[in-house]
Amino acid sequence: MSPHNPAVLPDRTAANSYSGEIALEVRDLVKTYPGPRGGATVRALDQLSIRVAAGTIFGLLGPNGAGKSTTVKILTTLSRPDSGDARVAGIDVVRYPGQVRREIGLVSQKASSDPMATGRENLLLAARIQGLSRRAAAARADELIDRFDLTDAANRLVRTYSGGMARRLDVAIGLVHRPQVLFLDEPTTGLDPEARAEMWAEIERLADERTTVLLTTHYLEEADRLADRLAIVDHGRVVVEGTAEDLKRELRGDAIIVELGTAAQMAAATARLGRVAGLREISSDGASLRARADDGASAVPAVLASLDDTGVTVASVTVSRPSLDDVYLRHAGRTYHATEENSR
């Protein structure tokens, strides 16, 4: 598959939501940064294109450095693309940044509230900046404090907030002016599981209210659960795009993962499994070998028997239903986990 022609899968489950208005339209975005100390320029975005229907949650999934945050920066007018078109709510972000700023809410990767102000003061300031009158700002702040379960903490300084509370306040601040599009840049990074679950529930509520959300994440699970559609981004390009279900369905069959006793036997194992009927997409990564079969459970005996014939020691065998991890492996050419490790 050519990297410049990302796979766009036919949309079966969400056909209705996609037929509506387009809230975000990004075409062929390119952004380069000068390399460190005169080194080669870094191509952060390489003809990235996405379209997001109004009222849906769109997930941008990829490892650190894939280009997710750069995309958000351009769409929120914080950065300018070298070339390409980007429209938010129909407005060109390069030509009319001032108008775009009135239609968007931004929850950036870092906490975006003032620690020396209370939660309520943060909300009031954000609301007044967005042009709400004093009275309207107060009413909206109360509404959001209630909705995001910050009532007890509303009059406390933000620096005393827990990570989860501060993040909920960030989202509340982003919603204060009822933006058409809300950008959530890695909203749950660094949160404990409980706070993450709460945040997910909040994001799902946004979808119910038909707010368009662009969500970036490097958690496969998060994109799987929240996004109506998602795009896997790698090296500044969209490698595949569709609903999570479509992406998984496209893989057909189960993943069989065999952990070998030693990586030294990998070549022999791979060669032998290539001759087992019904196995396809055989790949290896260290001492772990992956393959795909229509029915994983019934293929396992044949796999084990043939590896045993060859004298290969097997440490474990796992069969799993297709996951986004498999989608990632297929389209980015390596496992998501390995990519994450390398980017650290």
């Binding site: 914080l78 001032g98 968007i104 975006s112 003032d114 102000a117 003061e121 954000a126 900046i129 960030d170």
Partner: protein, 274 residues
């Protein structure tokens, strides 16, 4: 939707409202940690009381023209200098607010909102000026308690406040610009050590300039710190030399506007590099 967009188009009143809101934000933070500002007063108190005592006899050096008043004490002479040095060292740290906002996501959120860059600049500068006015009045109070008396009284104090505010804007704007360009707190240390300190001593802040070497007198002529000190010292004296005060006040005002404008431009560089 078109009408809504038209209704909230930014205007001059938006600039003022936004600047006011951002100034209030900082003032509120200051009220919540007043020791922050109090620490910046330790230095001037030491200058005034210890320096004032230690060098009290320098006024008797032939040629030391103190406050155009032969009976003036060194404490009275040094007060305008201490005020401007306090302004200088305090304003050098103005960029800290931006650095903190950048380290959190506050800067990005503001830049992605309808707030103009001008309002963001005016907001922090106005806050710094408020701090400067309070500090200046406190230093005057301490000097008065220690026995200093100024024949120029009200006009002198008002003009000192104006000069201190303008000097504050010049250096706070520079600090903001450095914060936007370098994005580290460490770079601000550079301003206070390599700029503020030499500029303070290349002026008549603590010593009669007539007694300094020629080259230093020449440098002082182009030093905004010296302009502010001269404005204040003259205005506080019994018989101010307005010919020395007004051009310096004008130059301070002009430089303040230029620096604030340049610092606002630094937002562009900041955004280009993100």
């Amino acid at each position: 939707m078109t009408t809504l967009t038209a209704a909230v188009r930014p205007t001059r009143s938006h600039l003022l409202v936004h600047s006011g809101l951002l100034t209030l934000r900082s003032v509120r933070a200051l009220i919540r940690q007043p020791w922050y500002a109090a620490i910046t007063l330790i230095q001037p108190v030491i200058w005034l009381l210890l320096f004032g005592q230690l060098f009290r006899s320098v006024v008797h050096i032939p040629g030391f023209v103190s406050s155009q008043d032969a009976s003036g004490s060194y404490l009275e002479f040094i007060s305008p200098g201490v005020i401007m040095m306090t302004v200088l060292f305090s304003a050098a740290w103005a960029g800290t607010i931006y650095i903190e906002d950048m380290n959190r996501g506050v800067m990005d959120r503001l830049l992605a909102s309808p707030v103009s860059r001008g309002a963001m600049m005016i907001g922090t500068l106005a806050y710094q000026v408020i701090t400067t006015l309070i500090q200046t009045l406190i230093v005057f109070g301490i000097a008065y308690a220690a026995g200093a008396r100024y024949p120029g009284s009200t006009t002198g104090i008002l003009l000192t406040l104006v000069a201190a505010s303008l000097l504050c804007v010049i250096f706070a704007a520079m600090s903001n610009a450095v914060a936007l360009l370098a994005r580290t707190q460490e770079a601000l240390i550079g301003i206070s050590q390599f700029l503020s300190l030499p500029l303070a001593f290349l002026s008549s802040a603590v010593m009669a300039i007539a007694l300094a070497p020629d080259w230093l007198q020449t440098v002082a002529r182009y030093n905004p710190v010296d302009w502010a000190v001269v404005v204040s010292r003259q205005a506080l004296s019994a018989d101010p030399d307005w010919g020395a005060v007004l051009p310096r006040l004008g130059a301070l005002a002009l430089l303040a506007v230029v620096m604030a404008w340049l610092a606002t431009r630094a937002f562009r560089t900041y955004q280009r590099s993100t």
